[in-house]
Structure formats: structure tokens, C-alpha cells
Amino acid sequence: MKRDAQAQRLAREAEHAALQLHTRRHFLKEGAMGFGALALGSLLGSCGFNVSSAPNAMFDASNPLAPRPPMFPGKAKSVIYLHMAGAPSQFEMFSYKPELAKLDGQECPQSLLEGKKFAFIRGVPKMLGPQANFKQHGKSGLWLSDNLPHLATVADEIAMLNAVTTDQFNHAPAQLLMQTGSSRLGRPSIGAWVTYGMGSENKNLPGFVVLTSGGNNPDAGKSVWGSGFLPSVYQGVQCRGEGDPVLFIKDPAGMDRDLRKASIDAINKINQEQFEEYKDPEILSRIAQYEMAYKMQISVPEVMNINDEPAYIHEMYGTEPGKTSFANNVLLARKLVEKGVRFVQLFDWGWDTHGTSASGSVDIGLVNKCRNVDKPITALILDLKQRGLLDETLIVWGAEFGRTPMQENREGKDMPFKGRDHHAAAFNMWMAGGGIKGGTTYGETDEIGYDIVNGKTEAFDIQATILNQLGFDHEKFTYESQGRPFRLTDVGGKVITDILA
């Protein structure tokens, strides 16, 4: 009896509480807010806030990787981007500065240090002359150091950017700026943008593959190949050089391919029901990803296998099957591009030559790093050329920044080895193939390579040029997020027309 009364009282209380939420006053208050929002929405709508009538029209959630046309016919169909994480020293590779050699060992003049900030240099550092010999190569007379003897043979294929600059002097933000157009997290990487724009020509393979070497992932982590605010299906798929190319690509023990197919079908069916209920396009992306994963079980091991390549190709690239190496990744990049992958991103770690150890010095460690990459990169250019693919494959070589013409003096002390600090003001990058005019140079730095003199090239300019070669106008290629259209190049960027064929 008593319990009944208590229950009734509780029920009344609950009813009362619910009613309180819907008093007339509440209704009017909420209603007014709603009307206000409606009015504001239509006002904003009529003020031209909706730039395009169908934002993100390119995204077809049911088939997000369907091949799509570029804005205009591009010269390049795919990109191989070679990023040397850690930032190689331009003074031992591309930037020929005889004046710097004369200043070797002298104290850096105060005028160069005033108002400048360095990652590690403190007090007054000494200038460090080039730790390599330079010669001119090819018909174009490109200056290259003796650390790159193979690349010198293809000098006329290369367009050298001498005056690249950035405003970030720490690895992670600088890598993000170079790869995503923003030094902070959250923006899509250039490969994700390209895959969003063009889809994948091969329905069995992802449009954007990432390969890493050098023992570490880049400092900025996986965000440098992330999809940011783009649907997650466009993020880079990281493949491995040894073991399974993609983790968990093999069928689990005790589960055969048919059973796996049946379970994926079942999962997709449930997801489809979820989609019908919630209409969240990410669910369709997930369905597409499951299907892609199933197809990749067959196609990826095949394309990621370099064992079947003939011996002379292995010799050419300097590859050793079964190992994780930059050379193996470069050969894989060629195979992936042959198979219609749009964007292959390579990161090679270990170029951060501060002079703290032998392997981190510009006269020992850097030389070994150069030996690791010189041959495969040259082989890649020549191999793509003989296969008739160089014209439609854009190769980009670069890093997040360069290194100082001064020797690093961490905490104001002499270092055990010769090294250079991070330098954001001026460094080198180069491009080849994909409608780039070989044998050209763009930009100039001062006599000691401290600052740029002309031909300033920012990350945005490089991104704009890559998009242009693929057939996209970087100013019109946008994705609507958080109520406004975003661009890879934000509000900057100009196509470097001087190096285009």
C-alpha cells in the first residue's frame, strides 16, 4: 500500500518535471530562438554566404574513391612525393656557396643574428663552410655536390627550387605546413586533397599510399598524411616494406576468405541499416572502406611484392627485398604508380644533422643518408622515363626546412661533430617529370645561403604547383567545413610557372 503511494508520488514528480520542461514560457523562449535562427539562416543565405550551391559536390559517399575528372586537363596523373624528414643540409647537396667556404670558422656577424630565433643556436655561432665539393652537371649546368653522384647524371630532368622558405623552424609544425598547408593539426594532407579530387583509377587499390623508412615516422606523426576535415576515406594508407604490407591484411587463423567475405557482407548490411536511420555519410565511407579492405587483400600483396622484379632493376635501385629501406619504397612507388595509385608519399627519417653524433653530422651521417637515397631516386627518374611514365608522374623532393650556414653550438657550447641547426629562411627543393621543365632553376639566395634574394617559394606555392600539374586550380579547389570553404593553400600560393614545361 505504502509502496504504491510512493510510486505514484514518484510518477507525479517525474510528470511534473517533464511538464516543467515544457511550460508556455519555455515554449515561447525556445520557439523564439528557433524563429530567430530561421530568420538568421535565411538572411545569411541570401547574403551570399553559401558560396557554392552544392558544397563538397565531389564527395559521393557510396563510392568515395570513384575516379573523377580534374578541373582542367592536367599534365600529371600521379605524384610521388619524397619527403626527407628531419631536413637535409642544402649546403652539402644543392646550394653551392663558395663565399661560405671562405668564412668557415669565423664568428657569425651580429647583424645576421639580431631579431632571429633558432631552435638550438645560442650566443654567437661560427660559420661552417660546405662539407662537400660541388660541380656543375648536365647541359643546364646545375650545381650538385659530390654526395649525389647519380643524381648528377639526370640533372637535366630536374627543376631546382633554390629559394624555398617557411615560417616554422621545428620539425612537426614545419612538416604539417608543407604537407597540409597549416602548421597546426586538423587540415587534410595534400595526398588526401588529391584523392578527394580525383579518386582512384584502380578500384582495387587506395588512391593515396604512404611508405616510411629510416626507422621512424615523421615527427608530426600520421597527421601529415591524415584526412583532416575531409571524409576519412581519403587519408593515406600506410604500407610496410616488410612483413604484411598492410597490418592484418592476411586472413586470421581459422577464417577462410569466404567466411571473411560473408562477415564483411553482414557488417555492411548492418551499417547500411544504420545509414538509412541516421543518414551519416561517414557510415557509407565505412562500408566502402570494408569493401576496399577486402579487395586489397588480393591486390595489395601483389603490388607490394618486389621479389618478382628482375635482377637488373634491383641493381638499378639498390633494393634488397624483405627489408624496409628507402630504396625498396622507391621501387614500390613506381609499381604503385604503374597500377594507377594517384599519390605515393615517401617519408625517410634521419636527416636531422645537428652534429650531436657521427650519424647526425653533415660530414659523416649526411653522406651516408645521401648514399641511401641518391641511387634509388635517380633510378626512379630513369625507370619512369623508359616506361613512358615520367611525363605523367610528378616527382617532388623536399623536406620541412633547411639548415643554417652556421655551425650549431647547442647551449652556446662546441659540438662533438660538425652539424647545422634548423633553418627556415632559405632551403632547396626540386621537382621532376609531370609536366615540369627539366634543367631549370628558380629562385636565388644570398652569397652564404642565409636568406633569399628572389624567387621566394613558400609551401603554398609548391602545393599550388602540384595541384596545377594534376589539373586543379588551387584557388577554386575547396571543401566546405565548419560553415566555410577551405583550401589547401589557405589564402596564399601561386603556381611556379617558371618551372613548367
Binding site: 570513384a66 575516379p67 573523377r68 575528372p69 580534374p70 578541373m71 582542367f72 586537363p73 592536367g74 599534365k75 662539407q131 662537400a132 665539393n133 653522384p149 647519380h150 647524371t153 583509377e201 584502380n202 578500384k203 582495387n204 587499390l205 637488373y312 641493381e315 638499378m316 639498390g318 604503374e338 597500377k339 594507377g340 657521427a358 653530422s361 660530414d363 659523416i364 653522406v367 651516408n368 648514399r371 641518391d374 641511387k375 635517380t378 633510378a379 630513369l382 625507370d383 622515363k385 623508359q386 616506361r387 613512358g388 611525363d391 660538425k418 589539373g471 613548367l500
Partner: protein, 474 residues
């Protein structure tokens, strides 16, 4: 004394600048007074009658204040005098009528036609004022917005820039889009007007706009080149700026004598300006040069059903660009090509210009289907069973510029059958039966083509396999 006069002058400017704000008061208040007067005739609103007087009084004061500030603003000389005349006198008339209306009201009289005249003058003065600030066609523009917006954006393409008129066709469109808004028929900020040759030569308050042959002294160019931080920089920052090309063109025109009647060809041209001038020559052409692979002739849309069928098979069939009907086709994802696939492909014969069908089960017999794609410019049939026996069929593809035969059994003899393909620019013959000695013979047959037989080797260098342990001695 002089500082006082400077102060007074700036005070004049200061008060004048309030005119656009003040004018809205008489508009609102006098209209309200008229409304009160009209309503108060009804019994229900009789009580409003007592508010008419005060409304008229405030409206009158604000009308007089508007007249004074307006007169001061007109003295800055930034506006068209004809438009100002109308606006000024209708405004003064309005002020006088409002005084009369208030006086009559004060005396307890009410004359309806005076109020009606006042309302009419408000509308008229407001319209003249609008014409000054927004341009005399501001009312019409709303209806023409769509059409005129596009017309302004697109410069009339110049078929042959050297035969075009330097001022009329090259310079005037730049001035129209970037300068007329403030230095045109409606406004003459700084007493400068740029829409006619005479006015351009006359210059403005700051001096001569252009001095023929002397770009350094020409105020127009000086101001455009001023740094953006400077107040004198033109166009003002909130307005669209001149592009590099536009600046180069104006600079060239002034330095070559600023002639208003000559053709481009008759003016001196430096090496630097030639490509800039050429870029004016219908812009589409410049883009076409960049992507030489697309035929100039347009083509109808491909049959969507066939495209869909091929896509469903996993063949990548995509337009070469968003606004093009030409297609690029790639069979890379297919395990094996069937007769049905080729049959579908044949039906896209007009549209397909790029085809990748290599590394597949394609054979000589299948080339009969391929050759039906008569628009084809790029063909990749590498690593297929295609041989000398079938290759002659490719003569049916006269537009071919790129041919990839890597890894096929083609011999030099087979390739000579294609010598009628005069447009071939690139032939790839790596891993074919063609030897180096036959290379020179082939390059004679295809003088325009780049023939790549591949087989590149890298020099063997000891250092490639050796790790450096200590610093090298340079």
C-alpha cells in the same frame, strides 16, 4: 593663423563627412510627421495630432543640418557636379518646405498638399543622393545584376593582340574595371576622371595622371606602385587591386608614349612585355597550349549508359577535365579484358582520347577494336601480346601523339609500318626486340618523335654500398 585655417578646413571635411549619416534623419522623421498628420484625421488616432508639431520641428532641424553638411561635402570635389546640382537644390527645397510645414502647424493650420509636396521632395532628394553614391544606374542595376556582373568579369577576347588598339582594347578595359568606380562619370575623387583621353591627360589634384614616356613622374603609376601601407596607394585597399599583368601593360603603354589612337604593333615593345601582350590573346588559347593533348574541336557527350557499364566493370572512364566530353580510359584494375569490354569501348570512339590498356591479355586481334577509337591521341599497350602482325592497324589512328609499346614483341621492321603517323611525338620501346643499332634508322622515320628504348643503367660506385665511418678529407 595657418594652423587655425588648417584646423577649420579639416573641420569642414569632418562635418561634411557626416552628411551620409545625417540625411537619414529628415527622411525618417519627416515621413513620420507626415504619417502622424495623416493618421490624426481619424478619430482613433486623434491623440497623435499633438506629436505632429514636434516631429516636424526635429525633422526640420535635421533637414537644415543635412543641407549644411551636404554643402560642405560637395566642396571636396569628389562628385559629379550635375548630379550634385539636382541633389543640392531639391534638398534645400525640402528644408524650406519642412520649415513652412512646421510654421503652419505651429499656427494651427494644416494644408495637405504642403505635406504631400514634402513627401515627394524626400523621395526625389533621396533618389538624387543615391545616384551620387551608388552610380546613376543604381536602380536599374538590380535587374541587370546577373548579366552585367559577367560582362564586367570577362574581358573581350582579342583575336590578334598586335592589331588591337593599344588604348581602346588593352588599357581602357583595365581602367574600366579598376578605376572608373571613383574616377569615372559619377565620381571624380581627387578631381581625377579617367574615362576619356582628355580627362586622363588633364590629371587631378595630385598632378598629371600620366606623362607620356615618363613612368616615374606619372602620378597614376606612382600611386599604383606605392606600398599598400601608404594612404595614397591606389586603388584603395578595399577595392580590387591591379594584377601584375595589368600593371605591366599600363607601364608599357605610358613608357611607349601613351598614345590613344595607335595599334599595339605601332608601339615600341620590349622582350618583357611581348609575352604579357600575347597572354591577352584569347585566354582559352593560352590554357590550351598548356595542355596540348586535348583536341581543339569539341565533341558531344558520351553515352552515359555505356560509361556506367564500363565503370561497373572497374574500368576507369573519366572526362579529361570537368568541362570536357573527351574521355580518358584506364583498364588497370581489370584482371582480363573481355570482348564485351572492347565492344562497349568502341561505342565511345569519338570521345576517348587517352587509353591505357597495357599489362593485359590484349592481342593483335583486339587492335581491330582499338583502331575504331579514331580520336585517340595517347595509347598505352605495353606488356601485351601485340606484335608486328597487328601493329599496322594503328595507322588508323592518325591523331596518335604518344605510343607506349614497352615490353611487346614489336621489332624495328614492325614499327616502320607506322611511318605514316606524322603526329607521333613520343614512342616508348623499352624491352622490345628493337636494338640500339636500329635506333638511328627509326629516328629518321619519325623525325618529330622522341624515341625511348630505355635500358638505362646506373654507374657502379663503390661508395653506394659502403658506409662512411669518419669525415672525408676534402
Amino acid at each position: 593663423m595657418s594652423t587655425l585655417s588648417v584646423f577649420l578646413f579639416s573641420l569642414v571635411d569632418f562635418v561634411g563627412s557626416f552628411h551620409p549619416l545625417l540625411v537619414h534623419l529628415p527622411i525618417g522623421v519627416l515621413l513620420l510627421a507626415a504619417l502622424f498628420q495623416f493618421l490624426s484625421q481619424k478619430e482613433k488616432y486623434q491623440s497623435l495630432a499633438s506629436a505632429v508639431g514636434i516631429s516636424l520641428f526635429i525633422g526640420m532641424l535635421s533637414a537644415i543640418a543635412s543641407c549644411i553638411s551636404g554643402y560642405l561635402l560637395s566642396g571636396t570635389g569628389d562628385y559629379d557636379e550635375g548630379l550634385i546640382f539636382n541633389h543640392q537644390w531639391s534638398g534645400i527645397a525640402l528644408a524650406i518646405i519642412s520649415i513652412v510645414a512646421w510654421y503652419l502647424n505651429w499656427k494651427g493650420k494644416q494644408i495637405t498638399w504642403i505635406t504631400a509636396l514634402m513627401v515627394f521632395l524626400i523621395v526625389l532628394t533621396g533618389h538624387f543622393g543615391g545616384s551620387i553614391t551608388h552610380g546613376s544606374d543604381y536602380l536599374k542595376r538590380a535587374f541587370l545584376a546577373e548579366a552585367s556582373g559577367q560582362a564586367e568579369e570577362k574581358r573581350k577576347p582579342i583575336p590578334n593582340v598586335q592589331q588591337a588598339m593599344a588604348y581602346q582594347d588593352v588599357i581602357k578595359p583595365i581602367l574600366t574595371s579598376k578605376c572608373y568606380k571613383c574616377h569615372g562619370p559619377n565620381k571624380q575623387k581627387g578631381k581625377l576622371r579617367l574615362d576619356m583621353p582628355d580627362f586622363i591627360l588633364k590629371g587631378g589634384k595630385g598632378g598629371k595622371a600620366i606623362i607620356a614616356g615618363n613612368t616615374d613622374e606619372s602620378e597614376l603609376i606612382k600611386r599604383i606602385l606605392l606600398s599598400k601601407e601608404s594612404d595614397d596607394h591606389m586603388p584603395p585597399l578595399e577595392q580590387p587591386q591591379l594584377t601584375k599583368t595589368e600593371l605591366d601593360l599600363i607601364h608599357w603603354w605610358v613608357s611607349s608614349g601613351a598614345d590613344f589612337n595607335k595599334k599595339v604593333a605601332d608601339l615600341a615593345q620590349t622582350e618583357k612585355i611581348k609575352p604579357v601582350l600575347l597572354s591577352l590573346q584569347s585566354e582559352e588559347k593560352a590554357e590550351a597550349a598548356l595542355i596540348s593533348d586535348i583536341p581543339e574541336k569539341t565533341v558531344g557527350q558520351a553515352d552515359a549508359k555505356i560509361v556506367q557499364e564500363l565503370l561497373a566493370r572497374g574500368v576507369a572512364v573519366i572526362p579529361v577535365a570537368l568541362n570536357s566530353n573527351y574521355l580518358s580510359v584506364n583498364f588497370v584494375a581489370l584482371d582480363s579484358i573481355t570482348a564485351k569490354d572492347l565492344q562497349l569501348l568502341e561505342q565511345l570512339s569519338k570521345q576517348v582520347i587517352w587509353l591505357k590498356i597495357g599489362d593485359s591479355n590484349l592481342d593483335d586481334n583486339n587492335l581491330k577494336s582499338i583502331v575504331k577509337l579514331s580520336s585517340l591521341t595517347r595509347l598505352s599497350i605495353e606488356k601485351t601480346a601485340v606484335s608486328d602482325a597487328g601493329i599496322a592497324l594503328l595507322n588508323g589512328l592518325p591523331k596518335l601523339t604518344y605510343l607506349n609499346l614497352v615490353g611487346t614483341k614489336i621489332t624495328a621492321k614492325g614499327l616502320t609500318q607506322l611511318k605514316s603517323l606524322k603526329d607521333l611525338r613520343q614512342i616508348f620501346l623499352y624491352q622490345t626486340a628493337i636494338s640500339g643499332s636500329e635506333f638511328s634508322q627509326l629516328s629518321k622515320l619519325f623525325p618529330k618523335a622522341l624515341i625511348d628504348t630505355g635500358g638505362y643503367k646506373l654507374q657502379f660506385l663503390e661508395s653506394d654500398t659502403v658506409e662512411l665511418k669518419s669525415a672525408r678529407v676534402n
